[in-house]
Subunit: 199 residues, 2 copies
Amino acid sequence: MAPRGETKERILAKALESFSTVGYDGTSLDDLAESLGIRKQTILYHFVSKRGLLNAVLDESVKILTESLEEVLASNDPHRDRIEDLVRSVFRVALEQPLLLGLLREVSRPGSPAAPRLKNQMGPLMERAISWMEGEMEAGRMRKTDAQLVLLSAYSTVVGLATEIEILRTAGVERVLRPSAQRRQELLHFLRTSLTPIE
Amino acid sequence: MAPRGETKERILAKALESFSTVGYDGTSLDDLAESLGIRKQTILYHFVSKRGLLNAVLDESVKILTESLEEVLASNDPHRDRIEDLVRSVFRVALEQPLLLGLLREVSRPGSPAAPRLKNQMGPLMERAISWMEGEMEAGRMRKTDAQLVLLSAYSTVVGLATEIEILRTAGVERVLRPSAQRRQELLHFLRTSLTPIE
DNA sequence: ACCAAGACTTACCAAATGGTAGAAAAATAG
DNA sequence: CTATTTTTCTACCATTTGGTAAGTCTTGGT
């Protein structure tokens, strides 16, 4: 029928959407299939089980995120502001693929079935980021703090911006969603002032 | 049997545990009942439906959190460091009732059935916190930034510390969990350096 | 033309889910 | 002790769930 892997990718896309909004348990294969105009067994054919589908979606998402960050971490150009590059990069992903961060949020819950898989895949990346930060601190280009805490804080903030905004939207004042560019600028400022060493 | 509302509270406690770890959809009333040595219908008797149970658990949790914060926000003592008090207060809750923050995280997902209820309950508190911060900024006691962003960032960080640590535990280096007191100190430092105005 | 492999479907199913109806047991009031 | 109310249980049930088995249809190679 569909000659190429077109169906498979359509399933992956819809699955990402569903997992990241209603969660893993909240996603029914039947509903997913129906929303695709497809029979459930087609899904099971491509991905052996529901768990298999989650794994596939997760793998794809982590890959995108990793590639985006790896690029920044790899460059050694001392003229560029690495922190700014990182924030920009993550923000770009968050804006282009907000569902992707939603999935991360969903899957990084302690009780999630895919939590260990996520650990394995994100582990090396985290390790690199942390050791890079610690290197910067050693060299005096960054104020000495708990690298992991800063990382967790920034990560949580961005994920929060991408997902949890919903709550604040009506909870806070009326107009809440500042242009994301401005938001990014302010997060950047926030991070920089607490990270740049005192001259 | 149990003469007082003892059973009801036992149910609430276990429900909080379950909701905050495996999520709402991941929680089965049968399992919950079994883990309590009770029949499912007893749960349905006290709380009309599963959703009713979630609402009850949520109400209780928000109440605890609100009381803890309200106390700090209310005091007008200019000699005390309000930020420090806030961080301490939230950390105390996070340490004593980590499940409570897990529930918040679960329920604050956009697609959650209890999201609107959470909005309504947390709304006023958020509003107060934000307007307080903006007041501080006006008075020059706090550097001018996006109050909501800072709030979201701090909130996400603490929730992250309470729940998402799991990922970093094995992902990052071996020993990761610094004593929470130290963690709190570093978050405090992190916040203060980016919030105190330049003299 | 034929056949093997891939893609997708229909037909089922056992288990689990949230929920209803009503009986039994326990606590309490008189 | 009896009547009543509160609490808990047994017995069911309709629906949904993820998954299996086996078929049909399509496509591409020879």
